[in-house]
Symmetry: C2
Subunit: 145 residues, 2 copies
């Protein structure tokens, strides 16, 4: 989509992931991009729920195999939100051009020298069907490690 602003592109890929998860049977809420109250109360990009399990998700786009960076404040807010919710998983979902979605748990992030976090190899993450197998109890997350 030439000319798309980063904000619009973000909204578009968030919406794409929300629709994929919805079609898999999840209840999905996409938070507002900005607006009253959203800044004081952190909201993740997406929350997906199934069978009483809550998955909080931050969405990132990547052009390929380059590392993806996550600000420490954002990673900490996501962790705190997941703690409040009693979430089952907190994930960074990376949309990789030419490869599709790869999901990384918040625990798997690597610290950077500057005090932030990164996903060194975005391609290594779980796929959506792996997530679904884990959430539905067909597979354990350790089966993918």
């Amino acid at each position: 989509m030439p000319g798309a602003t980063p904000k619009r592109k973000g909204a578009r890929i968030e919406n794409e992931l929300a629709s994929r998860l919805w079609r898999l049977g999840y209840a999905v809420v996409r938070g507002p991009a900005s607006g009253s109250g959203a800044r004081r109360r952190f909201q993740p990009d997406l929350v997906a729920m199934a069978g009483g399990k809550v998955i909080v998700i931050e969405v990132k786009a990547s052009a390929g195999k380059r590392p993806v960076y996550i600000e420490s404040s954002r990673a900490l807010a996501l962790t705190e939100f997941a703690r409040r919710a009693g979430a089952y998983l907190a994930l960074i979902a990376v949309r990789i051009k030419g490869y599709g979605w790869r999901l990384h748990t918040i625990d798997s992030l690597e610290p950077t020298r500057g005090g932030n976090f990164k996903i060194a190899d975005p391609l290594k993450g779980l796929r959506l069907r792996d997530l679904d197998n884990i959430v539905r109890g067909t597979k354990k997350i350790t089966d993918y490690m």
Copy 2:
């Protein structure tokens, strides 16, 4: 707030409830008022989560003791969303002028002759502290019936 449009008033009271629940320790997501994808995938006004329990919430304003009406399509969509999520509770939260918040479970709605639903007496609902007692396991919902 004289001159506030219904939409703005809706956003303001949703935000008020989201803040109250946030201060009680809940993770809260407020869906976008409208926008891409939100119409195809139903989103409740609020989703609150604590200890792995999901509470889906529709927000309504009421001037007093008059009945509050809920469209059948909206009630059914809320029920379907709660089913997908494996939600613990699906609620209609009514902000009653001069009284504060009262919460009504979706099961307690009464059918109208026109095929929609109503809350005949909005004041009869649970208070926020009742909800919190139920969610934290201090009380059972049947204690309030």
